[in-house]
């Protein structure tokens, strides 16, 4: 019993470190969700008339939607390359519990996307004319929300990874699940900007995070087993 437990932790760290190393190796992957986030956010001032009052009012929605899209676009990296070169098959066949392995991969994904997005978000908030005292709440909602995005996303990727062209189908599966997070996240920032109380939203985001932390690795593992057949 003891022995198996430490083994599972070993497996988690092996996978986590492996995926981080892979993300470092393909340097572009580390930089790019970030770059995408920055670019999409800056499309809005370009599409809108760049009047700062208007920008300010759409800022929470724009930031959250962009973070969501950036995460969504990078989701495939959780499983696709492993699927394509056959590594996923090998991981599924390993004697460690699959949820542990999947959890290692999700954790690595969040560190290379959601965490980075969160860290850069204040700068983008400023570019959309957000007042500095609201940047804290932006950070908090993203910090609580983006791990949930990675976790839920992993289920979608696991379901679509066997398909030839998962990309857009994935978006279709995932977006409806992302909507609650988007609504809570964006409205929390919006309300904070109107000087309203937002603890409720934050608790809800935290609850969603806890829920997906416990369920998503299992759901994603089950999905993988099915699609790999």
């Amino acid at each position: 019993m003891e022995a198996i437990q430490t083994n599972a932790i070993d497996a988690f760290t092996t996978i986590f470190r492996r995926d981080l190393k892979l993300a470092m190796r393909r340097r572009s992957e580390l930089v790019n969700p970030l770059a995408f986030f920055v670019i999409v956010v800056s499309l809005f001032p370009l599409g809108l008339s760049a009047d700062s009052n208007m920008l300010l009012r759409v800022a929470p929605a724009v930031l959250w939607i962009s973070a969501l899209l950036a995460t969504m676009l990078s989701l495939e990296s959780i499983f696709r390359s492993d699927y394509e070169d056959g590594s996923l098959e090998q991981l599924v066949l390993s004697h460690h519990p699959l949820p542990v392995i999947v959890f290692g991969k999700i954790a690595a994904h969040w560190c290379t996307t959601g965490l980075l997005l969160t860290l850069i978000s204040p700068a983008l908030g400023i570019s959309l004319a957000m007042p500095t005292e609201n940047l804290g709440i932006l950070l908090w909602t993203l910090l609580l929300g983006t791990p949930t995005l990675s976790l839920i996303g992993s289920i979608g990727v696991a379901l679509t990874v066997g398909l030839r062209r998962g990309g857009i189908l994935l978006a279709l599966l995932i977006l409806p699940l992302y909507i609650p997070i988007l609504i809570f996240g964006a409205s929390a920032v919006d309300m904070a900007m109107h000087k309203l109380e937002v603890a409720g939203q934050l608790y809800l985001l935290a609850a969603l995070l806890a829920l997906s932390l416990t369920l998503a690795p299992f759901a994603a593992s089950a999905a993988l087993r099915v699609t790999l057949e």
Partner: protein
């Protein structure tokens, strides 16, 4: 002339000649930089409107100019490399990208530092600012594409192609952004055109510009030399050189 170009374009000759030039160029750069900063920060009078904060101009304006200039050089070199298959041109193009991106970044940072006291905001979606930001993305795209390939020759040509496509787009971006911003509501941003500039400010500005250009040349030469060493590390002359040092 052609013969000289070809000789200079051979890695070995380039290495030899640039090795001789470098120390001189580097000291000249340093000297001009010091003179420019001295004149700009200490000698030039404070501005009657902006007080001391305008002095950031001596960094901002040259780096903004350089950001455009370097992009042109990069795309030109890439085109030369693609058309005449000159290795050295590709190397120059690809080594220009990070330098140009740094200048662009510097222009953005100094600009927004300047913008805070001037406009009360770090960033506004003004035409000039926006196109400078897009220029940064073009640079980053070239660099990312270059880094993404494992084979160096492929990387150089692919990223070079992107640089060329980008240069077609730069004027389009420039004008589209101007249009877009002026067509809407009136200018939210105070116009940048300063009234005719005083000589005591113009001189340090020009000195700094020359210094920045030289700085670009020096860094470019240094990076190119190291890349040549890396590329040709199996050939005899590089081994000889490495033994000497």
């Amino acid at each position: 002339m052609m013969k000289f170009i070809h000789r200079f374009a051979s890695p070995r000759e380039f290495f030899r000649i640039s090795g001789r030039l470098l120390p001189w160029l580097a000291s000249l750069t340093l000297l001009l930089m010091l003179i420019g900063l001295y004149l700009g920060l200490l000698v030039a009078p404070p501005d009657y409107q902006q007080g001391e904060s305008y002095r950031i101009m001596f960094i901002h304006v040259p780096s903004a100019w350089m950001s455009l200039f370097v992009y042109t050089v990069m795309a030109g070199a890439a085109a030369i490399g693609m058309i005449w298959r000159i290795k050295l041109a590709h190397v120059v193009a690809m080594n220009s990208a990070p330098i140009g991106a740094s200048f662009t970044f510097l222009a953005l940072v100094t600009g927004s530092l300047w913008g805070k006291p001037m406009w009360g905001a770090w960033w506004v979606w003004d035409a000039r600012l926006t196109s400078e930001l897009i220029l940064l993305f073009l640079y980053l795209g070239v660099m990312a594409l270059y880094a993404a390939f494992e084979d160096r020759r492929t990387a150089q040509r692919a990223a070079g192609l992107l640089a060329i496509v980008g240069v077609v787009n730069v004027p389009i971006i420039h004008y589209s952004v101007m249009w877009w911003n002026t067509l809407h509501q009136g200018p939210t941003v105070s116009k940048l055109d300063a009234p005719s500039i005083h000589l005591s400010m113009l001189v340090p500005l020009l000195v700094m510009t020359v210094a920045f250009t030289l700085f670009y040349v020096v860094v470019l030469l240094m990076r190119t030399r190291w890349e040549i060493i890396d590329q040709e590390r199996r050939s005899n002359w590089v081994e000889e050189f490495l033994e000497q040092t």
